[in-house]
Symmetry: C2
Subunit: 197 residues, 2 copies
Protein backbone atom coordinates (compact mmCIF):
# COMPACT_ATOMS: atom_id res chain seq x y z
CA UNK A 1 0.00 0.00 0.00
CA UNK A 2 2.83 2.48 0.71
CA UNK A 3 5.43 1.40 -1.81
CA UNK A 4 8.56 -0.67 -1.15
CA UNK A 5 10.86 2.25 -0.19
CA UNK A 6 8.55 3.58 2.54
CA UNK A 7 7.70 0.03 3.66
CA UNK A 8 11.40 -0.73 4.18
CA UNK A 9 11.92 2.59 5.99
CA UNK A 10 9.06 1.82 8.39
CA UNK A 11 10.34 -1.71 8.99
CA UNK A 12 13.86 -0.54 9.88
CA UNK A 13 12.68 2.44 11.95
CA UNK A 14 10.48 0.15 14.04
CA UNK A 15 13.65 -1.62 15.21
CA UNK A 16 14.87 1.50 17.00
CA UNK A 17 14.36 1.48 20.77
CA UNK A 18 11.32 3.56 21.69
CA UNK A 19 9.62 3.24 18.29
CA UNK A 20 6.87 0.66 17.82
CA UNK A 21 5.24 -0.12 14.45
CA UNK A 22 2.79 2.76 14.86
CA UNK A 23 5.33 5.44 15.75
CA UNK A 24 7.73 4.11 13.10
CA UNK A 25 4.98 4.73 10.54
CA UNK A 26 4.49 8.25 11.86
CA UNK A 27 8.24 8.87 11.81
CA UNK A 28 8.55 7.57 8.22
CA UNK A 29 5.70 9.84 7.10
CA UNK A 30 7.32 12.81 8.85
CA UNK A 31 10.63 12.02 7.14
CA UNK A 32 9.07 11.81 3.68
CA UNK A 33 7.16 15.04 4.29
CA UNK A 34 10.40 16.78 5.31
CA UNK A 35 12.45 15.20 2.56
CA UNK A 36 14.93 18.04 2.09
CA UNK A 37 15.33 19.31 5.64
CA UNK A 38 15.29 16.01 7.54
CA UNK A 39 15.31 12.81 5.45
CA UNK A 40 18.32 13.66 3.28
CA UNK A 41 20.46 15.08 6.14
CA UNK A 42 19.60 12.10 8.35
CA UNK A 43 20.49 9.62 5.60
CA UNK A 44 23.82 11.45 5.21
CA UNK A 45 24.44 11.59 8.97
CA UNK A 46 23.79 7.84 9.25
CA UNK A 47 26.09 7.04 6.33
CA UNK A 48 28.79 9.23 7.93
CA UNK A 49 28.39 7.56 11.30
CA UNK A 50 28.42 4.08 9.73
CA UNK A 51 31.60 4.93 7.87
CA UNK A 52 33.54 6.89 10.48
CA UNK A 53 32.54 5.82 13.97
CA UNK A 54 34.79 3.06 15.29
CA UNK A 55 35.21 1.26 18.59
CA UNK A 56 38.23 2.65 20.48
CA UNK A 57 40.86 -0.11 20.66
CA UNK A 58 42.00 1.11 24.09
CA UNK A 59 38.78 1.64 26.08
CA UNK A 60 35.89 0.44 23.88
CA UNK A 61 34.23 3.88 23.50
CA UNK A 62 32.67 4.89 20.13
CA UNK A 63 34.47 7.67 18.27
CA UNK A 64 35.73 8.58 14.83
CA UNK A 65 39.25 8.66 16.32
CA UNK A 66 41.08 5.56 17.53
CA UNK A 67 42.20 5.87 20.30
CA UNK A 68 39.09 7.92 21.16
CA UNK A 69 39.08 11.59 22.21
CA UNK A 70 38.91 10.63 25.90
CA UNK A 71 41.91 8.27 25.67
CA UNK A 72 43.86 10.95 23.76
CA UNK A 73 42.99 13.82 26.10
CA UNK A 74 46.20 14.65 27.99
CA UNK A 75 44.28 16.64 30.61
CA UNK A 76 42.48 13.50 31.79
CA UNK A 77 43.85 11.51 34.68
CA UNK A 78 45.31 8.26 33.33
CA UNK A 79 45.77 6.86 36.84
CA UNK A 80 42.04 6.17 37.38
CA UNK A 81 40.03 3.80 35.16
CA UNK A 82 36.24 3.65 35.42
CA UNK A 83 34.81 0.28 34.35
CA UNK A 84 31.35 0.56 32.74
CA UNK A 85 28.93 -1.90 31.17
CA UNK A 86 28.51 -0.15 27.81
CA UNK A 87 28.97 3.13 25.95
CA UNK A 88 25.56 4.35 27.20
CA UNK A 89 26.89 4.16 30.76
CA UNK A 90 30.07 5.95 29.67
CA UNK A 91 27.94 8.77 28.19
CA UNK A 92 25.89 8.98 31.38
CA UNK A 93 29.09 9.26 33.42
CA UNK A 94 30.48 11.93 31.07
CA UNK A 95 27.30 14.00 31.30
CA UNK A 96 27.88 14.46 35.02
CA UNK A 97 31.29 16.02 34.35
CA UNK A 98 32.30 14.56 37.73
CA UNK A 99 34.83 12.05 36.44
CA UNK A 100 38.12 13.17 34.88
CA UNK A 101 39.86 9.80 34.53
CA UNK A 102 39.65 7.31 31.67
CA UNK A 103 37.28 4.42 30.91
CA UNK A 104 37.10 0.73 30.23
CA UNK A 105 33.93 -0.42 28.44
CA UNK A 106 33.11 -4.09 29.06
CA UNK A 107 30.50 -4.40 26.36
CA UNK A 108 28.15 -6.39 28.59
CA UNK A 109 27.89 -8.15 31.95
CA UNK A 110 28.68 -11.70 33.03
CA UNK A 111 25.67 -13.90 32.38
CA UNK A 112 25.75 -17.68 32.52
CA UNK A 113 22.27 -17.79 30.94
CA UNK A 114 23.31 -15.74 27.90
CA UNK A 115 26.69 -17.45 27.67
CA UNK A 116 28.65 -14.27 28.44
CA UNK A 117 31.89 -15.19 30.23
CA UNK A 118 35.05 -13.25 31.15
CA UNK A 119 36.49 -13.85 27.66
CA UNK A 120 33.53 -12.14 25.95
CA UNK A 121 33.97 -9.10 28.20
CA UNK A 122 37.75 -8.96 27.71
CA UNK A 123 38.48 -8.99 31.44
CA UNK A 124 42.08 -10.12 30.72
CA UNK A 125 42.54 -6.92 28.70
CA UNK A 126 41.32 -4.86 31.66
CA UNK A 127 43.70 -6.66 34.06
CA UNK A 128 46.52 -5.91 31.62
CA UNK A 129 45.59 -2.21 31.54
CA UNK A 130 45.35 -2.17 35.35
CA UNK A 131 48.92 -3.47 35.58
CA UNK A 132 50.19 -0.52 33.54
CA UNK A 133 52.66 1.70 35.43
CA UNK A 134 50.35 4.70 35.44
CA UNK A 135 47.14 3.11 36.80
CA UNK A 136 46.52 3.32 40.57
CA UNK A 137 42.73 2.97 40.93
CA UNK A 138 39.93 1.05 39.22
CA UNK A 139 36.37 2.27 39.85
CA UNK A 140 33.80 -0.46 39.16
CA UNK A 141 30.71 1.38 37.87
CA UNK A 142 28.68 -1.59 36.63
CA UNK A 143 24.95 -1.30 37.39
CA UNK A 144 23.58 -2.04 40.88
CA UNK A 145 21.76 -5.14 39.59
CA UNK A 146 22.54 -8.78 40.38
CA UNK A 147 24.42 -9.24 37.10
CA UNK A 148 26.18 -5.91 37.47
CA UNK A 149 27.36 -6.67 40.99
CA UNK A 150 28.36 -10.25 40.11
CA UNK A 151 30.48 -8.84 37.31
CA UNK A 152 32.00 -6.24 39.65
CA UNK A 153 32.90 -8.90 42.24
CA UNK A 154 34.44 -11.13 39.61
CA UNK A 155 36.54 -8.28 38.22
CA UNK A 156 37.60 -7.17 41.73
CA UNK A 157 38.84 -10.75 42.36
CA UNK A 158 40.77 -10.84 39.10
CA UNK A 159 42.32 -7.45 39.89
CA UNK A 160 43.51 -8.67 43.30
CA UNK A 161 47.06 -9.24 42.09
CA UNK A 162 47.31 -6.10 39.95
CA UNK A 163 48.37 -3.89 42.85
CA UNK A 164 45.69 -1.21 42.34
CA UNK A 165 42.97 0.20 44.58
CA UNK A 166 39.59 -1.20 43.52
CA UNK A 167 36.48 0.83 44.40
CA UNK A 168 32.76 0.80 43.57
CA UNK A 169 30.08 3.48 43.30
CA UNK A 170 28.32 4.30 46.59
CA UNK A 171 24.78 3.03 47.13
CA UNK A 172 22.34 5.44 48.77
CA UNK A 173 19.34 7.72 48.42
CA UNK A 174 19.17 9.30 44.91
CA UNK A 175 19.46 13.10 45.00
CA UNK A 176 15.88 14.44 45.16
CA UNK A 177 14.59 11.03 46.25
CA UNK A 178 11.85 10.61 48.86
CA UNK A 179 12.27 7.77 51.35
CA UNK A 180 8.65 6.76 50.95
CA UNK A 181 9.20 5.87 47.29
CA UNK A 182 12.49 4.00 47.78
CA UNK A 183 12.93 0.26 48.11
CA UNK A 184 14.11 -1.27 51.40
CA UNK A 185 17.47 -2.37 49.97
CA UNK A 186 18.43 1.17 49.02
CA UNK A 187 17.35 2.63 52.38
CA UNK A 188 19.29 -0.09 54.26
CA UNK A 189 22.37 0.55 52.12
CA UNK A 190 22.11 4.31 52.70
CA UNK A 191 21.76 3.72 56.45
CA UNK A 192 24.77 1.42 56.62
CA UNK A 193 26.86 3.91 54.61
CA UNK A 194 25.70 6.93 56.69
CA UNK A 195 28.22 9.68 57.16
CA UNK A 196 28.93 12.47 59.67
CA UNK A 197 26.85 15.56 58.95
CA UNK B 1 31.92 14.32 24.31
CA UNK B 2 30.48 11.87 21.73
CA UNK B 3 32.20 13.05 18.58
CA UNK B 4 30.64 15.18 15.81
CA UNK B 5 29.15 12.27 13.80
CA UNK B 6 27.17 10.84 16.72
CA UNK B 7 26.26 14.33 17.93
CA UNK B 8 24.73 15.16 14.54
CA UNK B 9 22.91 11.81 14.45
CA UNK B 10 21.36 12.46 17.88
CA UNK B 11 20.37 15.99 16.92
CA UNK B 12 18.57 14.86 13.74
CA UNK B 13 16.95 11.81 15.36
CA UNK B 14 15.52 14.02 18.10
CA UNK B 15 13.49 15.81 15.42
CA UNK B 16 11.48 12.68 14.66
CA UNK B 17 8.00 12.60 16.19
CA UNK B 18 7.98 10.46 19.32
CA UNK B 19 11.72 10.79 20.03
CA UNK B 20 12.89 13.33 22.61
CA UNK B 21 16.54 14.16 23.26
CA UNK B 22 16.91 11.23 25.66
CA UNK B 23 15.39 8.59 23.40
CA UNK B 24 17.25 10.03 20.40
CA UNK B 25 20.48 9.42 22.31
CA UNK B 26 19.44 5.86 23.06
CA UNK B 27 18.45 5.30 19.42
CA UNK B 28 21.79 6.69 18.18
CA UNK B 29 23.69 4.41 20.55
CA UNK B 30 21.63 1.42 19.40
CA UNK B 31 22.34 2.33 15.76
CA UNK B 32 26.10 2.59 16.31
CA UNK B 33 26.10 -0.69 18.24
CA UNK B 34 24.25 -2.39 15.37
CA UNK B 35 26.29 -0.73 12.66
CA UNK B 36 26.12 -3.49 10.08
CA UNK B 37 22.62 -4.84 10.66
CA UNK B 38 20.75 -1.59 11.29
CA UNK B 39 22.70 1.65 10.79
CA UNK B 40 23.96 0.94 7.28
CA UNK B 41 20.66 -0.52 5.98
CA UNK B 42 18.71 2.38 7.48
CA UNK B 43 21.06 4.96 5.93
CA UNK B 44 20.55 3.22 2.59
CA UNK B 45 16.78 2.98 3.01
CA UNK B 46 16.60 6.70 3.81
CA UNK B 47 18.77 7.62 0.83
CA UNK B 48 16.54 5.44 -1.39
CA UNK B 49 13.37 7.01 -0.04
CA UNK B 50 14.81 10.53 -0.40
CA UNK B 51 15.74 9.80 -4.00
CA UNK B 52 12.75 7.80 -5.20
CA UNK B 53 9.65 8.77 -3.24
CA UNK B 54 7.70 11.53 -4.94
CA UNK B 55 4.38 13.26 -4.41
CA UNK B 56 1.76 11.87 -6.82
CA UNK B 57 0.82 14.66 -9.24
CA UNK B 58 -2.77 13.37 -9.43
CA UNK B 59 -3.79 12.73 -5.80
CA UNK B 60 -0.90 13.94 -3.59
CA UNK B 61 -0.02 10.48 -2.18
CA UNK B 62 3.66 9.53 -1.64
CA UNK B 63 5.03 6.82 -3.93
CA UNK B 64 8.01 6.03 -6.13
CA UNK B 65 5.62 5.99 -9.09
CA UNK B 66 3.88 9.08 -10.46
CA UNK B 67 0.91 8.70 -10.77
CA UNK B 68 0.98 6.59 -7.61
CA UNK B 69 0.06 2.88 -7.39
CA UNK B 70 -3.47 3.74 -6.19
CA UNK B 71 -4.11 6.17 -9.07
CA UNK B 72 -2.76 3.57 -11.55
CA UNK B 73 -4.70 0.62 -10.12
CA UNK B 74 -7.37 -0.19 -12.72
CA UNK B 75 -9.32 -2.29 -10.21
CA UNK B 76 -10.03 0.77 -8.07
CA UNK B 77 -13.22 2.69 -8.57
CA UNK B 78 -12.37 5.99 -10.26
CA UNK B 79 -15.90 7.33 -9.73
CA UNK B 80 -15.42 7.95 -5.98
CA UNK B 81 -12.81 10.34 -4.59
CA UNK B 82 -12.02 10.42 -0.88
CA UNK B 83 -10.67 13.80 0.30
CA UNK B 84 -8.18 13.50 3.18
CA UNK B 85 -6.07 15.97 5.14
CA UNK B 86 -2.70 14.29 4.60
CA UNK B 87 -0.96 11.07 3.56
CA UNK B 88 -1.19 9.77 7.15
CA UNK B 89 -4.99 9.89 6.85
CA UNK B 90 -4.78 8.17 3.46
CA UNK B 91 -2.71 5.35 5.02
CA UNK B 92 -5.22 5.03 7.87
CA UNK B 93 -8.06 4.74 5.34
CA UNK B 94 -6.13 2.16 3.29
CA UNK B 95 -5.44 0.04 6.37
CA UNK B 96 -9.16 -0.49 6.80
CA UNK B 97 -9.39 -1.99 3.31
CA UNK B 98 -12.96 -0.62 3.29
CA UNK B 99 -12.45 1.97 0.55
CA UNK B 100 -11.84 0.94 -3.05
CA UNK B 101 -12.03 4.34 -4.73
CA UNK B 102 -9.27 6.90 -5.25
CA UNK B 103 -7.97 9.78 -3.11
CA UNK B 104 -7.34 13.47 -3.03
CA UNK B 105 -4.77 14.63 -0.45
CA UNK B 106 -5.25 18.26 0.60
CA UNK B 107 -1.93 18.60 2.40
CA UNK B 108 -3.49 20.48 5.31
CA UNK B 109 -6.67 22.16 6.53
CA UNK B 110 -8.00 25.69 6.14
CA UNK B 111 -6.61 27.83 8.93
CA UNK B 112 -6.85 31.62 8.99
CA UNK B 113 -4.40 31.71 11.91
CA UNK B 114 -1.70 29.78 10.04
CA UNK B 115 -2.45 31.55 6.76
CA UNK B 116 -3.64 28.39 5.00
CA UNK B 117 -6.28 29.31 2.40
CA UNK B 118 -7.97 27.41 -0.45
CA UNK B 119 -5.00 28.14 -2.77
CA UNK B 120 -2.52 26.42 -0.43
CA UNK B 121 -4.75 23.32 -0.33
CA UNK B 122 -5.27 23.25 -4.09
CA UNK B 123 -9.06 23.20 -3.79
CA UNK B 124 -9.39 24.40 -7.40
CA UNK B 125 -7.50 21.30 -8.51
CA UNK B 126 -9.97 19.11 -6.57
CA UNK B 127 -12.97 20.89 -8.18
CA UNK B 128 -11.37 20.26 -11.57
CA UNK B 129 -10.97 16.54 -10.79
CA UNK B 130 -14.56 16.38 -9.53
CA UNK B 131 -15.76 17.74 -12.87
CA UNK B 132 -14.09 14.87 -14.71
CA UNK B 133 -16.53 12.65 -16.63
CA UNK B 134 -15.85 9.60 -14.46
CA UNK B 135 -16.33 11.12 -10.97
CA UNK B 136 -19.76 10.80 -9.36
CA UNK B 137 -19.11 11.06 -5.61
CA UNK B 138 -16.73 12.98 -3.34
CA UNK B 139 -16.36 11.70 0.24
CA UNK B 140 -15.06 14.39 2.59
CA UNK B 141 -12.95 12.53 5.18
CA UNK B 142 -11.26 15.51 6.85
CA UNK B 143 -10.97 15.12 10.64
CA UNK B 144 -13.97 15.74 12.92
CA UNK B 145 -12.30 18.84 14.40
CA UNK B 146 -13.36 22.48 13.96
CA UNK B 147 -10.72 23.05 11.25
CA UNK B 148 -11.48 19.73 9.58
CA UNK B 149 -15.20 20.43 9.43
CA UNK B 150 -14.70 24.05 8.32
CA UNK B 151 -12.55 22.74 5.48
CA UNK B 152 -15.16 20.11 4.59
CA UNK B 153 -17.95 22.72 4.49
CA UNK B 154 -15.88 25.06 2.35
CA UNK B 155 -15.05 22.27 -0.12
CA UNK B 156 -18.70 21.10 -0.20
CA UNK B 157 -19.70 24.68 -1.14
CA UNK B 158 -17.11 24.88 -3.89
CA UNK B 159 -18.21 21.50 -5.25
CA UNK B 160 -21.85 22.65 -5.44
CA UNK B 161 -21.65 23.31 -9.18
CA UNK B 162 -19.61 20.24 -10.09
CA UNK B 163 -22.63 17.97 -10.36
CA UNK B 164 -21.35 15.26 -7.99
CA UNK B 165 -22.72 13.74 -4.78
CA UNK B 166 -20.82 15.12 -1.78
CA UNK B 167 -20.80 13.02 1.40
CA UNK B 168 -18.98 12.99 4.74
CA UNK B 169 -17.96 10.27 7.19
CA UNK B 170 -20.64 9.35 9.74
CA UNK B 171 -20.25 10.55 13.31
CA UNK B 172 -21.10 8.06 16.04
CA UNK B 173 -19.95 5.74 18.79
CA UNK B 174 -16.50 4.23 17.97
CA UNK B 175 -16.59 0.44 17.64
CA UNK B 176 -15.79 -0.95 21.09
CA UNK B 177 -16.53 2.43 22.72
CA UNK B 178 -18.37 2.70 26.05
CA UNK B 179 -20.91 5.51 26.37
CA UNK B 180 -19.58 6.46 29.80
CA UNK B 181 -16.21 7.45 28.30
CA UNK B 182 -17.59 9.35 25.30
CA UNK B 183 -18.07 13.11 25.04
CA UNK B 184 -21.58 14.59 24.82
CA UNK B 185 -21.12 15.77 21.24
CA UNK B 186 -20.41 12.26 19.97
CA UNK B 187 -23.34 10.73 21.87
CA UNK B 188 -25.71 13.45 20.56
CA UNK B 189 -24.45 12.88 17.00
CA UNK B 190 -24.88 9.11 17.33
CA UNK B 191 -28.42 9.61 18.67
CA UNK B 192 -29.42 11.96 15.84
CA UNK B 193 -28.00 9.54 13.26
CA UNK B 194 -29.63 6.47 14.90
CA UNK B 195 -30.71 3.75 12.52
CA UNK B 196 -33.25 0.91 12.44
CA UNK B 197 -32.02 -2.21 14.19
Amino acid sequence: MVGPEIERLIQLLSRLPGLGPRSARRAALHLVEKREVLLQPLAQAMADAAEKVKTCSVCGNFDSLDPCAICRDERRDGSVLCVVEDVGALWAMERTGAFRGRYHVLGGLLSALDGVGPEELGVARLVERAQGVEVTEIILATPATVEGQTTAHYIADRLGSAGVTVSGLAHGVPVGGELDYLDDGTISAALRARRAF
